[in-house]
Symmetry: C2
Subunit: 338 residues, 2 copies
């Protein structure tokens, strides 16, 4: 298994989100304008920090999901642009707070905001962006969309606390781990996809389809990300391979290798992850253990499982260019490691 | 000028919010139940941290404002209880993040959450409470109330960033300082008061009256708080006199004394506030300089000015027990230092 490419920074060879990009290009132009205007403030540090993250080369997958999902049901207004921007702001706010919580130094190949402007500003500008996200949602005027996105905000934070509480705990079960990534990552993908049909006035069935698609896509996305951390290269990822290992993060590859390991291997993982005595020699050993137990390969196979559910969630819907583009996103996510 | 009492912990001799407490007692019972239920989560750290702050003896002035303001216009539903709880959650989330930003060790005479559970958990539980606040607002279903409270959330965060950017800058003008406290403190008082008439379907004039009342009450409240920091006693305040001084906070008493001071005095303030070389001898000297320039007395007189505006904002409204209770709140705030 070799890693091909990273969704955030480059074009994949295997599968492509080109159709999604093309279909949402015009709307994304408006999202980008709205991002710049709503991240503005007379308080200089706010646009500085917001732009640092916003301009740092993310592919803006989440807002594209919202736009395509709204188009899919013939939406004609401009509410989807505001909701897509809200989704991106929620994501940006989460990244700002995450980097503070994880004490991260780098993100997408750049210094994190907290390294340049400090933890304090990162916390507060995150709060500001979250407030601005809610203001935009309110402007759209859909109480259902507000319900979905505000619930996601709670769930994401709850997932982050769950992760913090379980930090460095190698006894975390696979189910407990899925609960964490479902909350901290998949809930926003799910909400992003569901508010599309909601603003377009689609049926409950269609809403449920997009919600399920987003949730399962988000799970696959996170699992592939965790697999990539033990198999990508620094330039592809915008972070270094083994970052999760060095930070002592308990991701699925580690959970599987730990559960399948011998007593001696478990002692190694305890030293490395729980006691933080990991180094680059440790990384080499860890990679060897992961390979021995097929832990990365099985993480990818779990991701494929969720990808299949996402695909079937969309199956009953009419064939549209948007539907086909959303299915491409699943393949694209998985193909990052194929 | 001697400090009599603190709003958070004891009964005042001079003016009382007893009528406000009595009028809102039944509704506050429901607010307290809702606080417990909505601060709940299977993730143990969330209720632990939330309860630490929520049970720490605050008088819950802000939610009482919402409840009384809704009652005043004959509101009969239960939306005001949810909005009042949302307001308290927004306030609690702000305190959690503030303590991280200010690196505070104590609040209301207890260790801050960050000292017990760490900065990371404080940031994330703050985010969770903010998410829960928005969910409750959405349940009420008033887009106008959502607009007011989500705007307040942005403005509060913007004010906090403004304060961070101006931190330790003694050249801050009085106007710039008012802009900060208007955003970081008064905006929530204003929103708390305004959503009362909004949920009760009161007229635009009535809404504007309560909004103005809340804003000016909030300004008076913050200025009195800043004055108390140079004149209260530790037990009254739940923090030590001189905390703001030791933390190098540029509050109005300091701004006035600095602007009115000699070159030598300014050099003292620079050393103490900007360079952080303040100690208890410094505090004694600072208190002397504040007295020489009437800086605390004039801070209180600025507070009275805003208190008068708050009073006049309510003047045109019909006489009701709620109106009279809200006017008592102004007197109560000011009387803390009389």
């Amino acid at each position: 298994m070799g890693v091909v490419l990273n969704i955030e920074n480059a074009k994949p060879d295997v599968a492509s989100i080109k159709d999604l990009i093309d279909l949402t290009a015009a709307d994304m132009g408006r999202v980008n304008e709205l991002i710049l205007s709503k991240a503005g403030s007379d308080v200089e540090m706010i646009p500085q920090i917001a732009n640092h993250l916003i301009s740092s080369g993310g592919k803006r997958l989440r807002p594209m999901l919202t736009l395509a999902a709204a188009q899919m049901f013939g939406y004609r207004g401009d509410g989807h642009v505001k909701l897509a921007t809200s989704v991106e702001f929620m994501h940006t706010a989460t990244l700002l707070h995450d980097d503070v919580v994880d004490e991260s130094g780098m993100r997408r190949g750049k210094k994190t905001a907290r390294m340049i402007w400090g933890n304090q500003a990162s916390v507060l500008v995150g709060d500001y962006l979250l407030g601005q996200a809610f203001r935009m949602m309110v402007e759209v005027g859909s109480l259902e969309a507000l319900d979905i996105l505000s619930s996601a905000a709670s769930i994401i934070a709850e997932g982050e606390v769950m992760q913090l509480a379980a930090a460095k705990n190698l006894e975390t079960t696979e189910d407990e781990h899925f609960a964490v990534i479902k909350a901290k990552t998949a809930a926003l993908f799910s909400a992003a996809a569901e508010v599309g049909p909601v603003v377009a006035g689609a049926s409950r069935t269609d809403r449920a389809a997009l919600r399920s698609y987003g949730m399962n896509l988000g799970l696959a996305f996170q699992l592939i990300d965790d697999a990539l951390d033990y198999g990508g290269s620094s330039t592809d990822l915008g972070k270094n391979v083994g970052d999760d290992f060095r930070e002592g993060k308990v991701t699925l590859p580690v959970i599987l290798a730990y559960r399948r390991g011998t007593a001696a291997e478990r002692a190694f993982w305890k030293r490395a992850i729980e006691e933080g005595r990991a180094d680059d020699t440790g990384l080499e050993k860890a990679t060897g253990l992961l390979a021995r137990h097929g832990a990365v390969a099985d993480t990818i196979s779990r991701a494929r499982h969720f990808g299949e559910i996402a695909r079937d969630a969309l199956a009953p819907l009419d064939a549209t260019p948007q539907k086909s583009a959303l299915i491409d996103v699943i393949d694209f996510c998985i193909s990052r490691v194929s």
